[in-house]
């Protein structure tokens, strides 16, 4: 079955997006990213030495079929985010930007107000904007209205590996969204990723759970398989979970 994910003008056959932080070496990161078969890899612009074409981290990521997704990690407001995005476009030659605005450096929770402001401006400037946000259905619609090409609600606070804690809100977001929904943070194990995909998420983004695993390469493979399994299950339509027992003799048959 042809199950391609389209975001803006790009098509993805892998629905597992990955990140580049926290790995114990660039070499291991490179191998894990290859094993994940991910086609969209996010990198913090602040980690890139933009003046150095030989930047080792970038070299460890780039291969055919891989799209670089710079992110604005480190900015605290819309103004800084717009500046960072422009810097990223110039330095990395892509108009894709993962918009992350977390003024709180402790839990790295996204600022919804600044994110909406920045998204609106960046769309006008011609960016493909992928905003990292709370699992807030109204905010997702507002972002869609200003032209973001997807939304990236969190499953749990970033880096916590706690899984899909925002399930009730994600279900609403998925139900209502006209743009792809990518579950971004908190996914700690392949079963969490599969679960998000079963709910109908269009993709997931995983970093910590792969990077900090004892064996990042095997873990990357496990995530790849889990995302595929979850997507396949979603497409195959899960059997419904029955909330009530169904009496074998209908209670209303006397009405007939």
């Amino acid at each position: 079955m042809n199950d391609i994910l389209k975001i803006a003008d790009k098509e993805f056959s892998s629905r597992l997006f990955t990140g580049t932080g926290k790995f114990s070496s660039n070499q291991l990161m490179s191998q894990a990213l290859i094993a994940s078969e991910s086609e969209l890899i996010t990198v913090a612009l602040k980690r890139v030495d933009v003046d150095n074409e030989q930047d080792r981290m970038l070299q460890s990521i780039m291969r055919p079929n891989v799209n670089l997704l710079p992110n604005t990690s480190g900015v605290r407001n819309a103004k800084e985010a717009v500046f960072a995005a422009q810097l990223a476009r110039e330095a990395l030659e892509t108009n894709w930007i993962k918009l992350e605005i977390h003024p709180d450096p402790k839990y790295l929770l996204p600022d919804p107000i600044e994110t909406l402001k920045a998204a609106e401006e960046l769309v006008k400037l011609g960016f493909v904007v992928m905003p990292y946000i709370h699992a807030d259905p109204v905010l997702c619609k507002r972002l869609e209205d200003v032209g973001t090409q997807c939304v990236m609600p969190l499953g749990a606070p970033i880096g916590t590996n706690k899984g899909i804690k925002t399930v009730d809100f994600l279900e609403i977001i998925i139900e209502q969204s006209n743009v792809p929904v990518i579950v971004d943070a908190g996914i700690g194990s392949p079963s969490h990723a599969a679960y998000a995909m079963e709910l109908g998420a269009d993709a997931v983004l995983v970093n910590t759970a792969i990077a900090v695993s004892q064996n990042p390469i095997e873990m990357a493979k496990a995530f790849k398989m889990a995302v595929e399994a979850g997507r396949m299950a979603f497409n195959a339509k899960l059997a419904t979970i029955k909330k009530h027992a169904e009496a074998s003799s209908p209670l209303t048959s006397f009405l007939n």
Binding site: F23, K46, L87, P105, G159
Partner: protein, 370 residues
């Protein structure tokens, strides 16, 4: 009302605090270890004598917690001393005003020479250090030095005399990232003994420096105590109290904790209360168990063996090959250092040590988006 840390600090009494720490029991320690989110009472238990038998367990937990948040990486930075001129008397410091040493403040050309050396080593995060000499090394000098080097370093931190809020604002405008300011000791009377002269003798002005920084909107504030001046358990607690206060008050700011300690028989001031290697590990782990996200920093004051091992136990940033004298890298390598460096290994060797232990040294992790 102008609320600052001092208001909170003044509600605490040193002796009572220390007694409370020392009265913590095995049960308190086990309770603290069993929790997911720990508070300051748990922190007291973890720095108490009762926690000593639990050091291995603390280290295991600390490593796992650090890894979750920071992954397998260590942020690298290097200090550059700009001046050893100083109008303070600090009993433990090589730059103390009454010490008869040649005084030097680096010129532009000298700064650039030192910078060229550090850039070759790969550094992108730099810590600028001065003594306190407001006429020659005041805000204009610091700002000028920052402007001189800002194209070469993504991330500039300073460790200089405490400044006023508007002065910090001026420096933040010029891309200042972080400020380190250690209270040395939170024991008011002992502080006076060690800082008899100069602006630094004002305990309260120093105590509220972090508040001025928070109000000015700096990205990161580094705090800490010079362990050995007083009881390290109590000083750790007050540092933790300070941290928690700051995090709640200035929630957009990041924090780091440093762990300088006086060593016995190293030629400098003898510690009043010795902090052993075990004590230091206990303290580092206690901070990590109190706060999963705070940066914990380790300088070259500590020995090779200690540093080789501590990088897994909670530390997230590391300096290497440091010189603590102005011009120490190239301009005047033979001049007197502020304090004795214990781990003198070259940067490349430290990077290699980290890699061989499965840790990626990170050189650049900041970009000024302003």
């Amino acid at each position: 009302m102008n609320n600052t840390f001092q208001n909170l600090f003044d509600t605490y009494n040193w002796d009572e605090t220390l007694a409370s720490i020392n009265s913590k029991t095995t049960q308190d320690v086990e309770y603290a270890l069993s929790k997911n989110k720990r508070d300051l009472e748990d922190f007291k238990a973890l720095v108490s004598p009762a926690a000593a038998p639990y050091l291995e367990q603390m280290a295991q937990l600390s490593m796992a917690t650090t890894k979750k948040r920071f992954g397998n990486t260590i942020q690298m930075y290097v200090p550059m001393y700009l001046s050893n001129e100083c109008q303070n008397i600090c009993t433990y410091c090589g730059f103390s005003m009454t010490n008869k040493i040649p005084r030097r403040t680096l010129t532009d050309a000298e700064i650039l020479k030192e910078v060229a050396f550090l850039k070759k080593k790969g550094y992108d995060h730099i810590l600028l250090v001065t003594g306190e000499a407001n006429k020659t090394v005041g805000v204009p000098y610091i700002k000028h030095a920052m402007e001189l080097i800002k194209d070469q370093f993504s991330n500039i931190t300073i460790e200089v005399q405490p400044l006023d809020q508007n002065e910090y604002e001026e420096l933040i405008e010029a891309n200042l990232y972080a400020v380190l300011v250690y209270q040395e000791t939170y024991h008011r009377d002992e502080y006076k003994k060690h800082h008899p002269k100069g602006k630094k003798s004002n305990f309260d002005y120093r105590l509220d420096t972090a508040d001025r920084l928070g109000k000015a909107g700096v990205h990161k504030i580094g705090i800490g105590a010079l362990f050995g001046l007083e009881d390290w358990r109590a000083d750790s607690f007050f540092t933790a109290l300070h941290l928690k206060y700051l995090q709640k008050t200035y929630w957009k700011t990041k924090y780091s904790i440093s762990f300088p300690r006086l060593r016995p028989h190293s030629g400098g001031l003898e510690p009043k209360v010795e902090m052993t290697d075990k004590d230091l590990v206990q303290t580092i782990c206690a901070f990590r168990l109190l706060d999963e996200d705070v940066e914990l920093s380790m300088s070259t004051r500590e020995s090779e063996t200690f540093r080789n091992n501590i990088v897994h136990l909670g530390i997230t940033s590391l300096s290497a090959e440091s010189k603590t004298n102005p011009g120490g890298y190239v301009v005047e390598p033979q001049s007197l250092e502020q304090f004795e460096i214990s781990d003198e290994r070259p940067t490349e060797e430290i990077a290699e040590m980290l890699s061989s232990q499965g840790l990626e040294p990170v050189w650049k992790d900041w970009e000024a988006f302003q």
